[in-house]
């Protein structure tokens, strides 16, 4: 491959495409199950209940402090399986590449995808590439489907959440949303905040067998508040967050103050929100805090009887309703 940028010809089914697949994608993603010539592959039988999920990924810029689109895509799918109580096993990857994308960039992103997959014990078993005309795609879109095996001993059912339960978070929220915004120098703002993009698998594994654990979800776009809304809607009770306890990094607070955003709606890419019964909360926190990624874990709220809504309790003892996101405070970031 001598070109420096993706050409439309890289998608035409001919030599360039074959070279792209074998010399770039398969070079990074290769494993015994991946056969770039086959139409479909046979997977070995799974040693447990299979779980499946799929997601599409786009982010600007493609590379940002703390991650890039490649690792972000793996983490996104790993995290969806992890919070459902599964270990990820097999992924498929479909890449929509925009004409003109630098091959060196693509190479870095796919290398990063491959490294993140390996770290999480995932084999990429099937893939596809398409090239779209310049201007028709944001550089690169990745579509990933993931298969995992259910492992959690805890029941993990959102409907089982009841008043008196406790809401926990594994670390500061809003980092990803603000990190990519600062990386874009949007609104003339800049900074060095790193995205929290990471696999939450270690965090999920550490607690998924605890009997008092009722539910886990990884907040992504829409942030903490959106997960709380999902909880409130599903269980029919009020989720009350204590403003002073929700961990926020200074940079996140700063941008929110400047632009009038609510940090609770900003995207995360490496956190877990968990609901436990009151007795299990401290144990979950202990397990999380023992991991580097969970050092900032804390209790942030509780489930109360009442309407299905989300309340933010302020430091002065006031209460404010956190509504579902209506406007788009940030242009789409993932």
């Amino acid at each position: 491959m001598n070109d420096t940028r993706i050409l439309l010809a890289h998608g035409n089914g001919g030599r360039l495409m074959r070279e792209l697949v074998t010399e770039l994608f398969a070079r990074h993603l290769g494993n015994p199950l991946l056969d770039t010539d086959a139409d479909a592959v046979t997977l070995p039988p799974l040693d447990g209940e299979p779980m499946v999920t799929t997601d599409g990924f786009t982010v600007q810029p493609l590379e940002f402090p703390g991650g890039n689109l490649g690792s972000l895509a793996v983490h996104g799918v790993v995290n969806d399986l992890a919070v459902a109580g599964a270990d990820p096993r097999y992924f498929t990857l479909s890449a929509l590449i925009e004409e003109g994308l630098e091959l060196a960039v693509l190479d870095r992103l796919i290398a990063s995808f491959a490294a993140a997959a390996r770290e999480n014990g995932v084999a990429v078993v099937a893939g596809d590439t398409k090239v779209v005309r310049r201007g028709e795609g944001g550089g690169l879109y990745l579509m990933v489907a993931g298969i995992g095996v259910k492992r959690a001993q805890a029941k993990l059912a959102i409907e089982s959440i009841a008043p008196g339960d406790v809401v926990l978070v594994s670390g500061p929220v809003g980092d990803h949303g603000i990190a990519v915004m600062l990386a874009r120098e949007q609104f003339g703002l800049s900074g060095e905040l790193r995205s929290d993009s990471a696999s939450v698998l270690p965090l999920a594994r550490a607690v998924r067998d605890l009997p008092g654990l009722r539910f886990m979800r990884d907040p992504t776009r829409g942030g903490l508040a959106t997960v709380c809304h999902e909880i409130a809607r599903a269980c029919g009770h009020t989720v009350t967050l204590e403003q002073e306890r929700v961990p926020l990094r200074p940079e996140v607070v700063s941008v929110c103050e400047m632009l009038g955003y609510d940090p609770y709606f900003l995207a995360c890419e490496g956190r877990i929100v968990a609901v436990t019964d009151a007795a299990a909360a401290d144990t979950v926190l202990e397990h999380w805090r023992a991991l580097p990624q969970g050092a900032g874990a804390c209790r942030i709220g509780r489930i109360e009887s009442g309407n299905a809504r989300v309340i933010l309790e302020t430091g002065l003892g006031g209460r404010r309703v956190l509504d579902e996101l209506e406007d788009d405070p940030l242009p789409r970031i993932c």
């Binding site: 609104f187 003339g188 430091g315 002065l316 006031g318 404010r320 309703v321 209506e326």
Partner: protein, 371 residues
Amino acid sequence: MTDTSQAWLEKIRAFDFERTIKIMNVCGGHERSITHSGLRGALPEWLELIPGPGCPVCVCPEEDIYQAIRLALQDRAILVAYGDMLRVPVNVPKGDVRTLAEAQAAGADVRPIASPTEARAIAEANPDRQVVFFAAGFETTTAPVAALLAEGVPDNLSILLSGRLTWPAVAMLLGSFESSPASPGFDALVAPGHVSTVMGPEEWNFVVEQHNIPAAVAGFGTESLLAAFYSLLRQLKTGERFLDNCYLEVAHPGGNPTALRMMGAALDVVDANWRGIGSIPRSGYALKPAFAQHDARLRFPDHADPGRRRAGEMPPGCDCANVVLGKIYPNQCRIYGRACTPRHPIGPCMVSDEGACRIWWASGVRVAADA
């Protein structure tokens, strides 16, 4: 929460008032701080905080938003505006483009910005396009527009100015209540901190001197706000009246002389229309004739359509005008929480984060008051 806020709160709770005391603020930023810190719930029941005409988005004339939409759609200008303006609906038949956000979805080039300097940068980056900066806001937000003009702007940048002065609206409010037997609707006034920073706190003396109403300039932290409430309550208790400045660190006497000079050089103070309220004498800004070549109102066709139904009016059923003037509570509007919600805003007060209806909604009031 800081200990000082708690301390102020305790001092406020120590007052005993037999009747409800209403403190009005005229600044969207204050309203935001109050809602975000949940102050209303923390204050004693006899103290009521009412939002006055402090939401620039709410009072921006409907015709101006309509004009901005047409400039983006018809004249194919790049339309830049502060994010809040993008969702305010105008009165058009069903199916027509109602907001700048919808215009953007329909293919117009609408871009949210966070600074006038971005407007200039966008104009410089697109020399072959016309760029219109739709600048709505009060004194604090209008001053940077004057600075932008003073510094010089590219030929292809024009300003659609909807700048307003806050004090004339309060003066009108006080005047209108005095001419009617009804009470002013509020007992004390929190004056806007950043307007005072630019224009000078002295602008608000008239509230005390001419109307004998306690007034205090406040900043945007809960501490400064609570200090202001305390000052106002103590003024009410003791009968003393003065304009207190609870934002001394920023709202310096005399305001910002550079800003005042630049505003004087670039802008005329003119009679202006406030959405739903009507015209208030000498309450708006217009570009001086020297800047006519950058005045979007002169440079582009006027899209005002005399045949358009309810042009310039409030949407049917919307009581924003009375809400903005603090005459009724948001949930006394007949369509509050019914037809009008943040998801489907009818009036501007439900759109902006600084709008009273939106704020009440956020504080948890979900149903219309029984009439």
